[in-house]
Symmetry: D2
């Protein structure tokens, strides 16, 4: 899960009918997270060739609070009154920059649903902060990507490189499993 702040101070444009009073304070959000599953999206950014075959996977490189290197997918919360596809676009632009030119899928059908539990072992996915139900999509990007905020690098790896144990071991919360599921879905597991 990306750790970037999910709560903008200002009401973003183009998101109608959501009075400011609907924003949650940090305390309220923490409380909600302990009592309700939270809607998330996970995006696996990929480069494709001209017939759509995945040739590279984009992984964000971050340094965690504990000082460890961490590779991550694009991931984040869906806001109140925000469509899935708008949330996907917002989080991809947040993490990859405004020039990434992502191709958000035409269909809302995700390739899987990752259920991040605050208790390890219930599912392959884990998030100590919350129970997140995350709709996962493969998202081709055509433009220039520039890591934003707390990410220090965006590395493009071939499907084979991305499945190297060393790379997978740098992913947290079960995102290594989610990445392999994405590659299975696009026929690039081998």
């Amino acid at each position: 899960m990306t750790e970037t702040v999910d709560f903008p101070e200002f009401d973003p444009p183009n998101r109608p009918h959501r009075p400011d009073t609907n924003w949650l304070t940090k305390d309220e959000m923490r409380q909600a997270r302990s009592r309700l599953p939270i809607v998330y999206v996970d995006a696996v950014p990929v480069r494709v060739d001209d017939v759509g075959d995945v040739i590279q996977v984009g992984l964000l490189l971050r340094v965690t609070e504990g000082g460890q290197i961490n590779r991550a997918l694009v991931s984040g919360r869906v806001l109140f009154h925000e469509r899935i596809r708008d949330a996907l676009m917002r989080h991809i632009e947040k993490d990859l920059g405004p020039m990434a030119l992502p191709t958000i899928p035409a269909s809302p059908q995700p390739f899987t649903v990752a259920e991040y539990f605050p208790t390890p072992g219930v599912t392959p996915y884990f998030d100590h902060r919350q129970h997140a139900v995350s709709l996962a999509y493969v998202v081709p990007v055509r433009g220039d990507c520039a890591p934003q905020q707390d990410a220090i690098e965006l590395s493009w790896l071939t499907p084979e490189e991305s499945m190297h144990p060393d790379v997978l071991s740098e992913m947290a919360g079960g995102q290594d499993v989610l990445l392999r599921q994405a590659l299975a879905h696009v026929g690039r597991l081998a």
Copy 2:
């Protein structure tokens, strides 16, 4: 959306690690619903023949608060620390009774995601109470179904009958669209 109560008084068995304090009061739930998208599941109960072809669709018949006849799919909230497949089973048993013998899908990939908005027109789905993000599944049932709680009848219709304008017009919140999407998915739209 089914209007049945989502908050059991007792902690159900087999749902570990969820202290009682995690339950939301009715007020807290109302507040959460105005600030966060809520995770839902929608299930389209079907009868299939011996090679899996859908031959009937099950629709719940209810009388709304306003006294109108309403046909509905099985629908309900996913609880904190509850897996999607457990929520599907719970809501199907809640609405169709304990002898329905549903075949919960092996894969978490839904056929679509229905985004119920509190504002009409943003998506085809509408729920005045909340913004619900609902994972939708077709669920074959093999056993005896008995409508529970506030449903007065469960009617089994052929795909053709279920798509009659009179039937579709008795469905609320865009569930008529969701039903047709389900039938499209199983190849029984025509």
Copy 3:
């Protein structure tokens, strides 16, 4: 089904290991069609907005041998030793021209499989010439489309317009059903 010729006289480049002797004569193909299911692809060309939402559907306008107006999806046979994604690209370029800039899906998972039978009524799909098993995909196109060969026009319709009974009635072989399945899949059935 598009009626364009499936058998190029010359061996196209980039299709290795297929000696000329593998080409079927017209007679051999007719015989195969009466004895084996034939692998097809169906593509529903769409225009999407910047968050991937389908805003238009492209339908080919043709005059049939019988002189009737016919609207069709992009459709055609998969050749020996040709990948699905290469067949999709070839048929889209064949029907929409070389500047269509289609986004071939990253995943081989089709939204449905249309089983065209030579006998009406077995499935919603019919093809008097053959039993075709067609993998169906929604394909966003970003470039300029110019109808090729026997198509006299490519018309872009909104999802709502494309589902008008007058439009659907101009589609043959069950492609009206397939179109509605595609729109159901992308959440634009309503």
Copy 4:
């Protein structure tokens, strides 16, 4: 790919409109296989718990012509004028016996399409005999399975056991990849 004979001597019941003359001789089939992609189905037989979670995978154990141990999925050709779901049922009964009680999926949407090429390396799948386009499904079975014909055993393995390198190495033609794709699809890759 299973190596069992695809050409019954007698016309099976319930398969209408297919005159005997449509059967291919062995020579004609060999010729077709060198010139046309052949429609196949692959089925991954699984045992599921009462909420649909996959707990075991069924693999056929065979001795190849060369005397090697080989593990295989259920796999076979779709016949002329045969629906996908009928082909799935026929091949599962052929390999697992008539009491397997498979739950053929309600939707024709496969979890992937495996393109077996006669040339190694084009895709992860390989079949020296032919170019097969195989629609792949996960099929829960509830009954008693008895290996038929040339299979000497049906072994039920947990998802974890089935992904052991020793097991995967006993699968041919890329079916190890297909198995892992199936497990990814049902959320049991880890």
